[in-house]
Every structure is written in structure tokens, then in C-alpha cells.
């Protein structure tokens, strides 16, 4: 369900510092290295000191822009018998961390509980103990545990078996029930298991069996606990689906008179109570005081140097110009990793950029060879696309410390047991703080010391973080974003619910509320998919569509066309692609990277029952970038904030028509355009979606240009040759320059949104325009919209966080060290821009944001 490369987990009990003593130290010996030496703990800090680097790194040019020492903390624990009954406490050999104790107390009080603490803080203990407690009270008691990925489900099965059966001696039966479980085992699990482990996509298709099978009947009837592990994983489209699957589950449970408690665990997020409530529809108590111990840790931020002399302000293609001037993140990260590995510091390098892990591994070897203390380092690549055996081998070599460095995708953020490494290197910011700290946590788990390096990547988020390191270290964390507002997704789940059991008015609390339930039921009755003679208030409404609607609900889209991906010259294991992404990223001729391998799209077939994207493996030094035109119509206001003066902020729905009409081919190493624009052949795409827009005063263009050319003494920008051929770009210099300002503000807000919100900004789009015919727009405006049909709550969340995001954007646009009017990829350029980042103007953009923020601060309702 969730992409295997985009998650995290904490499972390995062996390294989860469950302490036997109250001093918080797990008493681990320093790890033996393969060469018989002992890693020099205090030394890890010193290997990246300025002095060492200046002496030993051939190209050192002051890339270390920030370093921070984080002191360790001892554990805070509670004796088990203060929380648990004697018969259970007596089975534990250790005390509980304070957050575990708090969560168990909350559960004992009948509360649904969300536990949001750091990686490897022992969250599994909470629900394992609750299962044990329930079992001791009633041996028929059952529990359902949901995990975002199959691999983790197996890990957790082992973990629960070890704890419940082996360590605590309870005869609790635990079983994984998913697509890989054979029929006979499935039958046994249904009939006898106390604990069923599966994933939400599985539950979606198993739920309808509830009344066909005595095993499921037993299981649901006795259900006391539902565990949603790694709840922060469920956001965006997948989150919306999971939210409805959980509501369908709760509705069926109500029919069985089962009212289980929910435990939701998440990485540290900013809105745990709200997220848990949105995901499940129930209310939660939050446990967020982490009682687990931490070792000393150093975090270093590393900024790849830019050769400013090579920058050309008048470059026709600014993106390429900049990429040529900047050392690539990948090769910088490789140098750092090589440097660490040569100094006996086992290192895990996380890669995110276009370059695959194989390339990264080779770069590390090469960098080690070129290092003045030159030598050989043993480096392995690791990613989800490797076979299981290969992955196990690398995991074991990490555990056994028999490899110097591993270059990995974020697959190793997960709770896969690799022991601990001495250092991590992130080749670009992984997108969220939660993910960043998850990666960092891979070094020196438990109480041992550790070193982590972040090598800045080439976009606005990374640049912002290198400029504002406090952002990484302050207490705030992103909000998880999940929405249940998407009516198309809701309508599909309503059909599924009806197929599970006829709909009735009593379902309203679970199924969207009274009005939504009635109206959508009526819609489907009229369409012939629900029995037209049925009545929600009498007897119920039965499903009459084609059998098994659940099987046609995809977790990856909102119910539009969905493409499967097939490879013409080899294998590819790729999630289905929703229409919205297909048109943009998978048109014919598109190049993309998947599990470390590059592919080219050779054919898109939208006809027939199963629309298909055919690709072939390829290996080029190129990537493609899609250009688009966009039109926004049918605006309907749902929320409005009147700011001071003639400034207004709106949220609502509308139709976004995007035509991805052409694409460019660029060279990876230089960014240079080597082909295109080629036509994509993709038809226009209409999204009925959610958006926010900022309405500016009618004379704002003039007042801004006056200030720009007057008191600021800046010149107007000259339209590029490309812009003169684009009808959407104004030709007059003043309009072109102001348009560049709006465009910069729009890009900035979208690109920095992940600072506050756990959203994928590839699924957020924008449009800035000097005028729009809607009544709420008297002058210039910019829109930010969900890139997914029906919306998934991203624009809504940005609307709610607008003040903070606009302020961060202004700060960043102002401070970017690029010093270019037209900006750079580190401030206002976006690789997703359909307009080839033209026009862009930081100077005008800053004035626009200044005015908007001033209007926010002096807003009449005092909301600033």
C-alpha cells in the first residue's frame, strides 16, 4: 500500500533499549569490530572537525555550515507492578519506560491511545502488554494489528511471538493474514488466532467475509484491541482510504457489539490527537513524553559549494545554469561517506536524488581512492528492488560490521534489524523532520554515541534548512495530513460498506454523518448500484452493483483511471499509477527512476479494461521535465479570511484543467536541455479539487512596480525568448516582472509547505495570474491546489498554516544566497514547474509577500 521506499518503523527489540535498571543504561559493551579494534566513540565527533577536514579532505572548502552536539539522556522508568497486575508484571524482567506506563494506564482507563514518541522507543511494548493483559482477563480475547507494509508485518509477528509466548509464557496465538498467507493457514488463523496482523489494503478485502465465516465471526465478536502501527504513514490518498476502511471496520464491529480500544502509534508528529481522530473517527488520549534513553549525538550540516563565478544572470535556461555551477549532492555525500569509512566509522548513506544507490556506492569507492589517506573501502548498495537474499546479506554485513559503508534508499529507515552504525550521511533532506530523525536514529541506537551528516540537496527545502538549522532542532514537528472530505473516495467506500452489510441510518456516525450518508446513498440508488426500493430508515439499503466492489478500490488513487506499469524488457515491481501522475510523469518518452533503475515510457494505452503504461529499462544520463498549461474554473468558496485592506485569503473547491502538452529532455549532470520540447500526446486532465487563493488589490501590480523601480531602484526584467512564445506569460516588462513575483511567491509557499506539514508537494500544484474572472478576485492572485481529484486535504492544511508558511517563504526568498533576481532551485525554482520556471522574480516576490504578511498582521479579526 504505501511505497516501500517511503516509510519507517521501529521493531527490533534486540536494540530497543529496554532497561533492566533505573539508570537508563542498557549495559551494552562497545561493539567489537571485525578487525578486533573498538570504535572510538568520542572519535566519531572529531573525524569531521574543521582541522581534520582541512588536512585530509582534498577539496575542503568550508562545507560544514553548522554542527550541533546533542547530549544523551537517561531513561525514565516505572516499575512494572505499578502499572500491571502482578500476574503480568511478574513475567517482565525489566521496568517500563515512562511513556509505556502512561499509555498502559490510559488504556486501563478505557481510553483510545495514541503514542507518539521517537524511533525505537519501544512502542510495540505498549500494545503487546495490552494484548497480554486482555488475554489474561479472557483467553478468547482477540486483537487486530495493522501495519503499513508486509515486510514489517512479518517482523512484528516475530516480535509479538517472542514477547508474548517466549518471554511472558502466554499461550497467545499470533498470525499474519495477508496476500502471502496460504489458504489453509488462513483458515486456521480465522478459527483460532488471538492476534491477526495484516495491512489496511488487506483488511479492505477481508472485511466483507465477516458474515460468511464462523472464524471471522468469532474474531470480530471477541475483538478488544485494534492497533494501527506507524499511523503517520497514512496521509494523502492512501490516508483517506485507510480512514474509510477503519470506519467500515468500526461499523461492522458495532454490529457484533464489539467496541475495541484503539492504539495508534506514530513517529513524532505535531497533531497526534487530531490525526488519530481523523484516521479512525474516534477520540484519543495522547502519550508523547518519551521515557526512552538516548546516547550523545552530533549532527553536521554540509553545504555543497557553488561556483558563483560560473553563474550567468541572463541565462536562457536558469535551471541548467545553476546545476552546472553547483557540486552535486551525490558526489559531496560520497566524499563524506568515504572520509568517514576510511576513518573506521561504519556509515550508512541515504540517497534520494536521481542517482541510484549503485552509482552512489561506486562514487564512495572512487572518492576513497582519491582521498589523500587513500585506500579501499568496502561499500554495498541497498534498496527495495534487490532480492531478499541480497538484502539479508547486506543487513547481516552491517550487523557484523564487515562492511565499511552502505548506500541505501530510505528502505533502511525501516525497522529492519541492522544493529547500529557509527554514522549516517543523508544525501539531501529526506523531506520531513520525522524521516530525517528516523535516519539519524539509525546511528548509535540505544545509548551509544553517534554522528549524522546532512548534505544539502538542490531545492528550496534543503536550502531553507541549511540557512535555518534551528528548524531541525526545535521542538515543533510537522502535522500529519489526512482528509475524509473527498466525495469520490467516500462514494466508493459507501458501496463497499453496503456490500458488507445493508446500509441503515444507524451507520451515519461511522459513514460520513447523516446528510452525506443520505445524499450519497440516494445518488447510488439512482445510479442502480444500491437497491432503489431500500430505505435507510426501514430495513436498510442493499448493494446491487457488480460483486466485490472492495477489490476495485485502489489505495493509490481516488477512483479515476489507474494504470498498471509493465516492463517490455525485464521485470518491474511498480505500484499502479493514478491518472493525475500518469499524465505528468509517465507520458510516452518520459524517463523515470524506480528502485535504482532508470526506465523510459514507450507506450501508454488507455483503452481496454486495464490501462497500461509500458516501459523499458534504459540507462541514460538524461531526465525529462513536463511542461503544462493550466486553467482554473468553477470556484466555490468554503472558507474565507478577510485580511487588512483589499487582501483576502480563500479556501474552496474548483476545477483545475491541466494540459501536460510537452516535455523537455535534460542531461542529469549539467541540467542542459538536450531535447524537446516534444509533444506528450496526453489529453487535458480535469481535477475537481480543493484549493486556496490569495486575492490581491486591483492596483497591486502598479504599486509594486512603482516601489520596485522607485525606492528599491531595481530594473524591470526582460522577458526571455521562451516566454515570448508562451501565451500565458505577459510580454510587457512590468507585467512580466510582477508575474514573476507572484510566481515566486506561489512556488515558495508550495515548496516550503513540508516544513510544517507531512505532505508530498509533488501532489500540490499552483497557478499565479494577473487576473481571474471569479468575483472574489479583483486583481492579481495565486492559487495552490491539491493535485489529486477530489482533494486529499493538502490545500486545506496549507490554508490553515498559511501565516507561518508565508512568513517562512518571505524569509527564505529574501535570504537565499543565490543573489539572483530569477532565483535558483534552492529558493523559488521548482522541478515540477510546468512553465520552465519562467518568469520568476525574487525582488517582486518579496514585496508581494511583505504586503500579504502586513495584511495578515493587521487583519481586522486579529487573526494575524
Amino acid at each position: 500500500m504505501t511505497h516501500p521506499d517511503s516509510s519507517d518503523h521501529d521493531t527490533d527489540s534486540s536494540t530497543t533499549g529496554q532497561t533492566a535498571t533505573t539508570d537508563g543504561h542498557d549495559g551494552q559493551e562497545p561493539r567489537r569490530r571485525a578487525d578486533g579494534g573498538v570504535a572510538d566513540r568520542s572519535g566519531t565527533r572529531r573525524v569531521l572537525s574543521e582541522a581534520v577536514l582541512r588536512d585530509s579532505l582534498p577539496d575542503y572548502r568550508g562545507q560544514v555550515c553548522h554542527s550541533r552536539h546533542l547530549p544523551g539522556e537517561p531513561a525514565s522508568t516505572v516499575p512494572a507492578d505499578e502499572v500491571l497486575c502482578d500476574s503480568l508484571a511478574g513475567r517482565l524482567e525489566t521496568e517500563l519506560f515512562s511513556h509505556q506506563a502512561a499509555a498502559l494506564d490510559s488504556l486501563a482507563g478505557g481510553e483510545n491511545t495514541v503514542v507518539t514518541t521517537s524511533t525505537s522507543s519501544g512502542k510495540t511494548w505498549v500494545y503487546a502488554l495490552q494484548i497480554a493483559r486482555n488475554y489474561l482477563a479472557d483467553p478468547d480475547s482477540t486483537a487486530l494489528c495493522l501495519y503499513p507494509m508486509k515486510a514489517l508485518t512479518r517482523d512484528q509477528e516475530n516480535e509479538l511471538n517472542t514477547k508474548l509466548r517466549q518471554d511472558w509464557g502466554l499461550d497467545v496465538s499470533v498470525g499474519v493474514y495477508d496476500g502471502d498467507t496460504d489458504a489453509e493457514r488462513k483458515r486456521r488463523i480465522r478459527e483460532t488466532a488471538n492476534v491477526v496482523l495484516t495491512n489496511p489494503a488487506g483488511l479492505n478485502v477481508y472485511l466483507p467475509r465477516h458474515n460468511k465465516d464462523s472464524g471471522w465471526h468469532r474474531f470480530y465478536h471477541n475483538l478488544d484491541l485494534v492497533v494501527v502501527d506507524e499511523g503517520h504513514e497514512y496521509s494523502g490518498v492512501a490516508g483517506t482510504h485507510v480512514a474509510w476502511i477503519l470506519r467500515r471496520l468500526r461499523r461492522i464491529l458495532a454490529y457484533y457489539d464489539a467496541a475495541p480500544q484503539f492504539v495508534l502509534t506514530t513517529a513524532t508528529i505535531g497533531n497526534p490527537a487530531r490525526h488519530a481522530a481523523r484516521l479512525t473517527g474516534a477520540e484519543f488520549t495522547v502519550v508523547d513524553e518519551d521515557g526512552s534513553p538516548r546516547g550523545d549525538r552530533d549532527v553536521v550540516l554540509w553545504e555543497p559549494p557553488v561556483d558563483r563565478s560560473a553563474l550567468d544572470e541572463a541565462a536562457e535556461d536558469p535551471l541548467a545554469d545553476f546545476e552546472q555551477a553547483r557540486r552535486s549532492t551525490g558526489s559531496e555525500a560520497a566524499s563524506v561517506t568515504a572520509h568517514l569509512a576510511l576513518r573506521d566509522t561504519q556509515t550508512l548513506q541515504f540517497c534520494r536524488a536521481r542517482q541510484g544507490t549503485e552509482i552512489a556506492a561506486r562514487q564512495v569507492v572512487a572518492a576513497a581512492r582519491d582521498h589523500p589517506e587513500g585506500g579501499y573501502v568496502d561499500v554495498e548498495p541497498y534498496h527495495a528492488g534487490l532480492g531478499t537474499q541480497t538484502r539479508r546479506a547486506v543487513e547481516n554485513r552491517l550487523k557484523g560490521a564487515s562492511v565499511d559503508a552502505v548506500a541505501s534508499t530510505n528502505a533502511l529507515e525501516l525497522g529492519i534489524d541492522i544493529g547500529s552504525v557509527d554514522a549516517t550521511v543523508a544525501a539531501s533532506y529526506p523531506g520531513t523532520k520525522q524521516s530525517f530523525w528516523q535516519q539519524v536514529g539509525r546511528a548509535g541506537r540505544g545509548t551509544s554515541d553517534a554522528l549524522s551528516v546532512l548534505v544539502g540537496g538542490q531545492d528550496a527545502m534543503d536550502a531553507y534548512i541549511l540557512d535555518n538549522p534551528d528548524y531541525l532542532f526545535d521542538d515543533g514537528v510537522e502535522d500529519a495530513v489526512v482528509s475524509v472530505e473527498n466525495d469520490r473516495v467516500y462514494a466508493d467506500h459507501l458501496l463497499a460498506a453496503a456490500a458488507e452489510r445493508p446500509l441503515s441510518a444507524a451507520d451515519a456516525p461511522y459513514l460520513g454523518g447523516e446528510r452525506r450518508l443520505r445524499e450519497t446513498t440516494e445518488m447510488w440508488q439512482d445510479a442502480g448500484l444500491l437497491e432503489s426500493v431500500g430505505d435507510l430508515d426501514a430495513g436498510g439499503v442493499t448493494y446491487t452493483g457488480d460483486a466485490r466492489p472492495q477489490a476495485r478500490i485502489s489505495m493509490y488513487g481516488t477512483g479515476g483511471t489507474e494504470f498498471r506499469v509493465v516492463c517490455r524488457n525485464g521485470e518491474i515491481d511498480h505500484d499502479p499509477v493514478a491518472e493525475e501522475r500518469a499524465y505528468r510523469d509517465y507520458h510516452e518518452g518520459a524517463l523515470f527512476l524506480h528502485a535504482g533503475q532508470q526506465y523510459e515510457v514507450v507506450e501508454v494505452d488507455e483503452t481496454g479494461r486495464r490501462p497500461t503504461i509500458a516501459v523499458r529499462r534504459t540507462q541514460t544520463d538524461e531526465y525529462t521535465q513536463t511542461q503544462s498549461t493550466k486553467r482554473i474554473t468553477d470556484l466555490a468558496v468554503e472558507a474565507h479570511r478577510s485580511l487588512a485592506g483589499d487582501y483576502d485569503l480563500y479556501f474552496g473547491t474548483g476545477t483545475v484543467r491541466i494540459t501536460y502538452d510537452a516535455y523537455l529532455v535534460r542531461e542529469v549532470s549539467t541540467g542542459e536541455i538536450v531535447g524537446g520540447p516534444h509533444p506528450t500526446g496526453a489529453p487535458p486532465l480535469d481535477l475537481r479539487t480543493e484549493l486556496l487563493w490569495v486575492a490581491l488589490p486591483p492596483d497591486h501590480l502598479q504599486t509594486t512596480i512603482d516601489r520596485l523601480t522607485g525606492e528599491l531602484d531595481e530594473e524591470l526584467l526582460t522577458p526571455t525568448t521562451r516566454a515570448s512564445t508562451d501565451r500565458a506569460v505577459p510580454a510587457a516588462e512590468d507585467r512580466y516582472t510582477y508575474g514573476g513575483g507572484l510566481h515566486a511567491a506561489e512556488h515558495g509557499v508550495i515548496q516550503l509547505a513540508p516544513l510544517e506539514l507531512m505532505i508530498d508537494n509533488a501532489d500540490v500544484g499552483g497557478l499565479s495570474t494577473l487576473g481571474h474572472d471569479h468575483e472574489t478576485v479583483p486583481g492579481p492572485t495565486w492559487f495552490v491546489h491539491d493535485g489529486i481529484d477530489g482533494g486529499v486535504g493538502f490545500a486545506k492544511a496549507i490554508y490553515e498554516q498559511f501565516d507561518t508558511l508565508a512568513a517562512r517563504t518571505r524569509e527564505h526568498i529574501t535570504d537565499c544566497s543565490c543573489d539572483r533576481r530569477r532565483g535558483c532551485p534552492l529558493c523559488v525554482m521548482s522541478e515540477h514547474c510546468g512553465n520552465n520556471n519562467d518568469p520568476l522574480d525574487r525582488a517582486a516576490g518579496r514585496l508581494i509577500l511583505d504586503d500579504v504578511l502586513a495584511a495578515v498582521e493587521s487583519a481586522p479579526d486579529g487573526s494575524g
Binding site: R488, P502, W524, D526, E531, D535, G539, T542, Y543, P549
Partner: protein, 527 residues
Amino acid sequence: MNGGAAPDDAAGRDGAAGAASRARSDGTAEVARSSRPDLPPPGGAPVRVFGLSGAVVRRHHPDTLGALVDAADPDVVVAAPPESTVVSSLGHDVDPPVLTPGRGVAPAVASGPDDGVVVSLTADDDTEALLDATGGTAPRCVVSDALSLSVDPYERSTAVEGLADYRERLPDPWHAAAAHVVTTLRAGHETTVTGPTGPLSLVGVGTTTARLGAGVDSRVGDPTVVSVYSNGAVTTEPVDPESVGLRGVRDVGPARAETLREGGYTTVGDLAQARAPDIADLGGFGRSTARSIRAAARAVTDRTVVSTGDGALPRGDPVFVDVETDGLEASTAWLVGVLDGGPEDGRYLAFRQRDPDDTSHLEGFLTWLTGSAAGRPVVAWNGYQFDFPVIADQLRQHCPDRHQAWADTYQFDPLYWARDQGNAALPGRSNRLEAVAGALGWEPATAGLDGQTVAEVYVAWRTAVERAADPAAVDPPAWRRLERYCEDDVRALATIYDELRAAAGRDTAAETAQSGNGRQGSLSDFG
């Protein structure tokens, strides 16, 4: 017109039931909630209209299509999208006329039994003169592509578009009295729309461009037969192209059908005549597969059951059971029909609910089963997939103390035994109960009913009772007719069971074959 009593009546009930038609602000009529379906007049012969899409024609071999039309046995074939123009290529290969709505310069007319009339509308002709000339009390049917469905989840509304123009084009007597068969609505979709000239009863036989989300599986247009009766009642029945011709023979998929055709076997009859080793020589068939395919073909051509395995039927006199529910995802079993004895002379018992909350009929059934019928095997067609779990679920909910007694009975599903365990080849063109029993010579006593209609009649009654201030005042459905329908099914079941027993008794040594293809039971078999 045919007195118009039934449709007017239907409209009246509509209002009385409170499902008033809704008019949108723009004046176009929305789909109205229909009430209890009309039952066909006993003994009346319907006009049979067969909707077939070009996409289906393109995907299947001409032999299969010929067998498909034979199986549907229509008076008229209607060309439906997608690719409706492809269907006309069938023209000279099939007997019934092929009508393509929306094409041609004048409306086409075809006739059916009892002077029934089918009129196909062109794009924009004047139909008044033609239709005025056609009268009487015969079944009548208008076929068109002039209406479409649109579903908007954001507005939460469904609308039929094109109604105003459509009404304009038809003379008044053709509004309420006719069935309106539409190729641009989903096959099997039945709905009634209200408007200024009374209700229109619409039936889909094609595909819709409306986005129906998870509710539909296929966008090729499932071939569907619509039967239109003289009182305006309509029933629909899908005909699966994979259940006719060579494809209708068990274990023959598209690849094997192609191999067989290339080898010169183009009909089921050819296969039944073939020697198993010759089939095996074509490649792609093991010897045992070849034997079982031949046996299956013989079952079809000889209209008999052919034994293909050595599994035993249960000892003892079976009790034949069939439940009627409120739909495929059953939340009630309001009628448990039981046959005690053989297909002709067996005694039929109907354990039926008296009001929507009544569950005493379940108690009654269990009392009889564990008393008078103690120890006898309980037999239901597709029972493992439907009847048995439904009964178990109902007992758990309403008579928990009876649940164990039910679980202790010997439950037997002859469809599973024959098809999934490979013990017998069945003769029907599908594995639906009626199709198999019909091929064995069984004839129903009630016509024009199916499980879906029966469920709808029940639900309409339940809804009316639960909404009514005085439940006793609600007109009951024709219970006796519904019970008779269920009786038909258990007698059909007994017919099949007798044949299974007879086939097992015959010498099977030469035909014994292993099968066990493990296919799952079809959920379309219910009722």
C-alpha cells in the same frame, strides 16, 4: 394502450410510499425511486430483446457469438456501445433482426410474440406517425441511445440526461405503457423516472459513460436479455459469452478454444463425438483434461450428467433447501424453502417470516430439521457459498441456541461436488440452478421471476411496513407466488440431484477423470 392499469398503479404507489419524484431547479427530472416491481402476468409471453455490444462481438469468435445468440433466444438483437457499429456485421449470421439505435434514416421496427413491437429510434427522426399507427395491448418496447446517466459525487446526485427531448419525440401512449430499453445505460440497470407525462420505465442494455466507481467491474457491456411483458413488467438476465459454445465447456478457456478450432472442433457437438486421445494430440491438453473436456461436452449435447470422478454422494435421503434473502449480501433469510422427497412427489415446506422482525420461521425450520428430518443431509445448490453461511449467520444472530444444532448437520453442495471436486460434468450453459435443471428437462411452474426480483419485492414490502403508520394496512406481496418460485428451485435441485445419483450409478470406468480445477463458486447464483 393496454389499459395502463399497471403502470398508473405503480406511479400511485410511488407517491403513497413517500418516495416523491424530485425536480431539480433547472427543470430536468432526476431519477425517481421506484417502488415494488411489477410481476409479469402469469402465462404471458414476453418480447425478448438482447443487448450486445460491439466490444463483446470483437472479443469473441463467430462460433461463440452464434452460440451466444442461440442461448439468448431473442426476438431482436440490439447493438450497444462500446463500438455498437461492429454488431451490425453479425447481421447475416444470426436469425433475429439486428437494430442499431441512433443509426439509419427511419426508425426500425421488429415484432415479437403476441403482436409485441420493438421500435428502434434513429438520431432525430419524427416517430409520431409510425408509433401512432402501432397500438393494441401488446408488449411494446422502445430502443434508443438517446438517454444518458451522469453521476456527480461532489453534487451527490445522479441524473438521467436527455429526458425532455426523449418525451417530446414519443407520443403519450408510448410513455408509461412501454419499456424503454437504452443502450447508453449499464446492462441490467432498471430505473423509473417520473415526469409531466407519467413514469418511464428505463432498462439498460449497454454501457454508461457515467463514473460508477467501485460498483462496476466491466466496461465492455455485459450481454443481457430484457424480457418485456404486456403489463409493462420487465426482467433482465445476463448471458455470459464464456458459458456458451466451446467456451461453455468446463476447462476450455480462450487459448484452448482456439486450439480446438484450429484442430477442426468448432462446436460442442464436435467435441462430444471426439476421441479423447485425438484431443490430447492437439497439444495443450493432458490426457485426463482431454477426457474431462470430452465428458463435459457430452453432458451438454446429451443433456445429461456425466460422471467424471469417484466421489460419493451423501448417504440417506436428502433435504433440499433454498433460501430467499434481501440481496446478495444477505441480512435476512425471510423464506427457507424445503423439499422433503423427490422432484415430482416430494412435499414442499415454506418456512416464511410473517413480519420484518419475525424470526420464528427460523426456529420452525430448525425444529423440523432436527426433529422430523434428524440425521438427513441438507443439500443446497451453491450452498457452501451462499445458503449455508446465510442460515448460519441468521441463526447466530437470532437463535444462538440453535446455531450448534445447525452446525452439526451434514451440509452438502452438489455444485461444489460436481464442478469444484470434479465428480460430474453438468449440462447447462451456465452453472445456474435453472440452467442445469432446464437442460435436464425440468420446467418451472412460475415464469418471469428471478432471485433478484423476488428480493426486490420483499425489500419493497419490508420498507413499506417499517415506514407505515399502520403496518397491517400495507398490501402484502403475492406470497404464494414467491413461495412457488422457491418451490420451483428446490424441485429443480432435486431433479439435478437425482441425475447426479443416476450418473454415479452408470459405468464410469472409461470416463473417470481427475479435475479439481479449484474454481470458486459463482456468486451470481443465488435465489
